[in-house]
């Protein structure tokens, strides 16, 4: 690993830490409005899921439109645990366990869905991941789950068909989701998990496994001739990518009190929104994903006051970002004058 790559990595961490400290100062001094305070955790989980998706799209080179689905798995499984254990386990160990559970289940789903999906190529892969994402969301929308003295009850029809004792506790109430989840997440945890995701992805890229993954992306046939196990590394990258999306999901569900599997947050349009962050931040550019997610998430929220011009300004920003990241002239300019913003050339 060259000096440049090492520095590059720390610039990303530094950026996140500085942004975190600034936000904390603004919060503590009371300058930050409560509206903006409420945006900080979502900003982090969108950055996390964008980093995860970039591992899949930019590093592995496979277009996934199902990452909101993996986020949904992480959100539901962890929230279910936290909700069920609310009065049993103290907050800190409960959240850590919920995080582990959410990540574990999204990893499992990533693995299971990866098996059929990674046999496909290009558009086909994108369409099938989109379908799986929708299936996951719809299943969570349809499921009823409750617990009473007799144990767990589950139904995909309605509440009464669960056959649960009235004294029991309803865990998932169909489309109404989980009500009364403990809001254990906060900005500090969210920023930490963003750093952790960046740590995993950036270190992975600079390792033997990461090179193998990028080799498959750049030329599958050559990678095979170099003795690289294609299936293994595709599965690996896809699964890690799903796990990171699941991490974002855990933050999502522990930042609100009612979790529902709405298409706004977990449907294909959410997957596409995340993809927009990745594409505009630069495919394969991990730091770019964080920057794009933060700007593009905050902007429409901050512009709420300018209701009429909001979408206009938002679309102008989209176009400017696109030009900044992708136009050849802009790239040259950026490489000269914004060296600190440059992504690793190798990852492009």
């Amino acid at each position: 690993m060259t000096m440049k790559k090492i520095q590059d990595k720390y610039i990303t961490y530094g950026m996140v830490v500085i942004a975190y400290v600034l936000c904390e100062i603004l919060m503590r001094t009371g300058i930050m409005s409560s509206h903006i305070k409420g945006l900080l955790v979502p900003m982090c989980y969108y950055a996390i899921v964008a980093v995860g998706l970039n591992l899949c799209v930019g590093i592995l080179g496979e277009l996934s439109l199902g990452h909101a689905g993996f986020m949904c798995v992480g959100a539901y499984t962890s929230a279910l645990f936290s909700f069920a254990m609310e009065d049993v386990i103290p907050t800190v160990p409960r959240f850590i366990m919920a995080l582990i559970i959410g990540v574990a289940f999204s990893t499992l789903f990533g693995f299971l869905i990866g098996i059929p999906v990674l046999r496909l190529k290009g558009d086909y892969l994108a369409i099938v991941t989109l379908a799986f994402g929708e299936i996951i969301k719809n299943i969570f929308n349809a499921v009823y789950l409750g617990i009473d003295d007799a144990g767990l009850h589950i139904s995909l029809k309605d509440m009464s068909s669960m056959g649960m004792d009235p004294s029991g506790k309803i865990l998932i109430n169909g489309a109404q989701g989980i009500t009364g989840t403990p809001s254990d997440a906060n900005f500090t945890i969210a920023a930490f998990l963003l750093l952790a995701s960046l740590f995993v992805v950036q270190n992975l890229i600079n390792s033997r496994d990461g090179r193998a993954i990028m080799a498959i992306r750049d030329n599958r046939i050559a990678a095979e001739s170099n003795g690289i196990n294609i299936t293994k590394y595709k599965m690996f990258a896809f699964t890690i990518s799903a796990a990171i999306a699941g991490t974002a999901g855990v933050l999502f569900s522990h930042n609100i009190s009612t979790l529902t599997a709405t298409s706004q947050y977990f449907g294909y349009n959410a997957s596409i929104l995340i993809l927009v962050y990745v594409v505009l931040g630069g495919i394969g550019n991990i730091r770019g994903s964080v920057i794009a997610a933060v700007i593009l998430y905050l902007l429409p929220e901050l512009l709420r006051g300018l209701s009429d011009y909001r979408m206009l300004i938002y679309s102008i920003v989209l176009i400017v970002m696109m030009l900044f990241n992708w136009a050849p002239k802009a790239r040259e300019f950026r490489e000269k004058h914004f060296a600190f913003l440059n992504k690793r050339k190798e990852a492009r």
Partner: protein, 254 residues
């Protein structure tokens, strides 16, 4: 001298076309062997059979005494065959040195977790990988390009990088598919020297496909000529190139 490659009666058809028909070749350890023939004769298809890209309809491939006929490309490489491609296949978005490091994938190991945590064992092994990759690049006089994107290299250098990457997998048998294609006479001359050098330095057994007759007659000891998927002639370079049938089929219309 032991036999390195012993391929017998290889055949494959694509639809109605018998692209390779009853192809047999025997290469001794340390030999530099040439495979020639007009366009579409089936030379690249022979490479694809030897490296497992295609499975032969018939025939056997024995490498260093082991039957590797049915192995896939990954395991063919692991058992000792490396190749370059006629239409260059580099990892275009990786740097030159990272291309070589991908070739070193199975030569150096640390766990995935060590790779993600960047543990001391990761640092130690990565340092060894870096040194080995730079050594290999210096064999090809490319160390000054180490950090350049592979796709930004001049054409001739890209071909050399493919050879370096193949060598990184530590093969017993190196297959070169038209290594001099698109090179100017100077580059070709330099390439010939490099091929002779790696052959001596690493005791490498090499099978190469080439259109450049000067290159073939200059460095190959033995030749096999393919025409329409069939073997037209085989043997010492001089006698094969003097064979009237070969001259008629191949050299005549060159």
């Amino acid at each position: 001298m032991a036999t390195m490659l012993d391929a017998k009666n290889l055949s494959i058809s694509f639809g109605g076309l018998r692209a390779v028909d009853d192809f047999t070749i025997k290469i001794e350890e340390g030999e530099l062997y040439g495979l020639i023939g007009p366009n579409g004769a089936g030379k690249t298809t022979v490479f694809n059979l030897l490296t497992g890209v295609y499975k032969p309809d018939e025939g056997r491939i024995i490498l260093g005494g082991k039957d590797i006929t049915r192995l896939d490309p990954v395991h063919k490489n692991k058992s000792g065959i490396a190749r370059t491609f006629q239409n260059i296949r580099l990892y275009s978005k990786l740097s030159v040195i990272d291309n070589v490091k991908v070739g070193l994938h199975n030569q150096f190991h640390y766990s995935t977790l060590a790779g993600i945590l960047h543990t001391p064992s990761y640092r130690k092994v990565e340092k060894e990988i870096d040194e080995r990759a730079r050594d290999l690049l210096s064999v090809f006089k490319m160390e000054q390009h180490a950090d350049v994107l592979a796709s930004n290299l001049p054409y001739g250098e890209q071909r050399k990088l493919e050879i370096a990457r193949a060598m990184a997998t530590e093969p017993k048998l190196l297959l070169l598919d038209e290594p001099a294609a698109g090179m100017n006479p100077n580059e070709t001359k330099e390439l010939m020297e490099t091929i002779s050098f790696i052959r001596e330095k690493f005791g490498m057994t090499i099978l190469l496909i080439e259109h450049d007759m000067k290159l073939v007659s200059g460095i190959c000891e033995k030749l096999t000529v393919l025409n329409f998927g069939r073997m037209l002639a085989e043997g010492g370079t001089k006698e094969v190139l003097g064979n009237p049938e070969v001259i008629k089929a191949y050299l005549g219309d060159d």
